[in-house]
Amino acid sequence: MLAAVDWHVVWQRIFHPDHVFFRALYTTVYIAVVAQVMGVLLGLVAALMRTSKVWPLRFLSGLYVLIFRGTPLLVQIFFIYYGVNLLLGFTLIPNSLNLGLFSLDGAVVAGILALGVNEGAYMREIIRAGIDSIDRGQMEAAKSLGMRYGLAMRRIILPQAARVIIPPLGNEFNNMLKTTSLVFTIGVYEMFADAEIHYSNSFQPVEYFLAVAFWYLVLTGVWGLIQAAIERRLAAAERGDELTFRERLTTAWAPAGAFVRR
């Protein structure tokens, strides 16, 4: 027999979340966004380093991917939060960071750092594939017009590669929204930590984890809509095969997509 679920609690957590919860939700989104931006930037730098003429840069880029894709994210989070300051012998990650307008908890900084650096290793592969997908003739044409490497990358190659990079980037961010839950382990008060604390006070795991799962669905669902809109705008500039907005939406909403004939 199913254990009795206190639906009132679930209802309450979903429709009448308290102020503390919203702060936690904000922290989740905030960490995800900053870590993702950091991942994209690191991934771009590493992808460009990979094609460098200077071998130590290529080597570093390879080592970076090897380490951060090859070890568990949870280990990286713990290592950065507990280990980095000790290892370096000075305080890279302070207990709290005062930035004038607002201050940041050291655990949040460490969490963002770990998620961002880890994400960069995956983004490198995505960006590399995007750049590699562009015909060699594009770089040659740009060079023949007197463009230097940096300008050609910025104006010719990357804008085209972006079309290839953005769909998997969207998936990465979907992942990131959920993966932020790991940083509760170093004491960041984000959405999962909020659920966890309510659970340990009440011993009602089903109610609180169900409710927090719902909220993760809301975040990833909203992101799915945004992603669909971005991809549609990209496709609009292209010829022929683009999907309609409706088709994009239904593909983003996978369960609904199953019922739509394409």
Binding site: A141, A142, K143, M147, Y149
Partner: protein
């Protein structure tokens, strides 16, 4: 100095163990149209790609307007030039590719204005004006806002010619400009090129179009096995080719 625009002296190029160019020497004077013919693998495409340093040469030297391309001389030795100065040299040399290589994310107009604005620093409205004149010249003034994907092959290649001309190059290189085109549209590209030749542009054209060579070329060279085996006027090639390889080759393409 005479009016030599491009001079190649004993150019060598290797791809691994394969020596693609085995000592090519050639000079092109101002206003001249030179056609390079030859079977595939003869090194003709590699040679013109060396002229704007898309391929590094392994021996010899190439100069355009008296400037050494891709290298600078230090104590009698050649060292590869900086990226910056190679890029500057390339602004003098226009190139038209077999597969057009237009920028697909930019309209015809933007393809033409891209380099003048972002490389030479020409003000945008001035660049647009110039681009419009060039697109009109290649017969595509009505396609300014069209993306390459919506243009036919012949139209794309004409935009590519306008794009190269927008840099006001001293020399234009054409790498088999009609080989990727349907037969019925090669004419529109060739007539633009003939027009250019008439106007006195200095051009080096790798091509199989002997009709074009007949009308527009001042001189034709035949390459085989990485060297120039025969050189002469178009008439010479039509009437009395000397070399056995040339006769064979011409009998196949004419």
């Amino acid at each position: 100095m005479t009016d030599v625009v491009m001079e190649a002296v004993d150019v060598h190029k290797r791809f691994g163990r394969l020596e693609v160019l085995q000592g090519v020497s050639l000079a092109v004077t101002k206003g001249e149209t030179l056609c390079i013919i030859g079977a595939s693998g003869s090194g003709k495409t590699t040679f013109i790609r060396c002229i704007n340093h898309l391929e590094k040469i392994d021996g010899g030297r190439i100069t355009v307007n008296g400037h050494l391309i891709g290298y600078r001389e230090e104590d009698g030795k050649l060292r590869e030039d900086s990226e910056k100065s190679i890029a500057r040299q390339r602004t003098q040399i226009g190139m038209v590719f077999q597969r057009f290589n237009l920028f697909p994310h930019k309209t015809a107009m933007e393809n033409v204005t891209e380099a003048p604005v972002h490389v030479l620093g020409v003000p945008t409205d001035q660049a647009r004006e110039q681009a419009l004149a060039l697109l009109r010249r290649v017969g595509l003034a009505d396609k300014c806002d069209t993306y390459p994907g919506k243009l036919s092959g012949g139209q794309q290649q004409r935009v590519a010619i306008a794009r190269a001309l927008a840099m006001r190059p001293a020399l234009m290189l054409f790498d088999e400009p009609t080989s990727a085109l349907d037969p019925e549209v090669t004419g529109e590209v060739l007539s633009v090129m003939e027009e250019l030749a008439r106007e006195g542009m200095t051009m080096i054209v790798v091509t199989h179009e002997m009709g074009f060579a007949k009308v527009a070329a001042d001189r034709v060279v035949m390459m085989d096995g990485g060297v120039i085996i025969e050189e002469g006027t178009p008439e010479h090639f039509f009437e009395a080719p000397e070399h056995e390889r040339t006769k064979q080759f011409l009998s196949k393409i004419l």
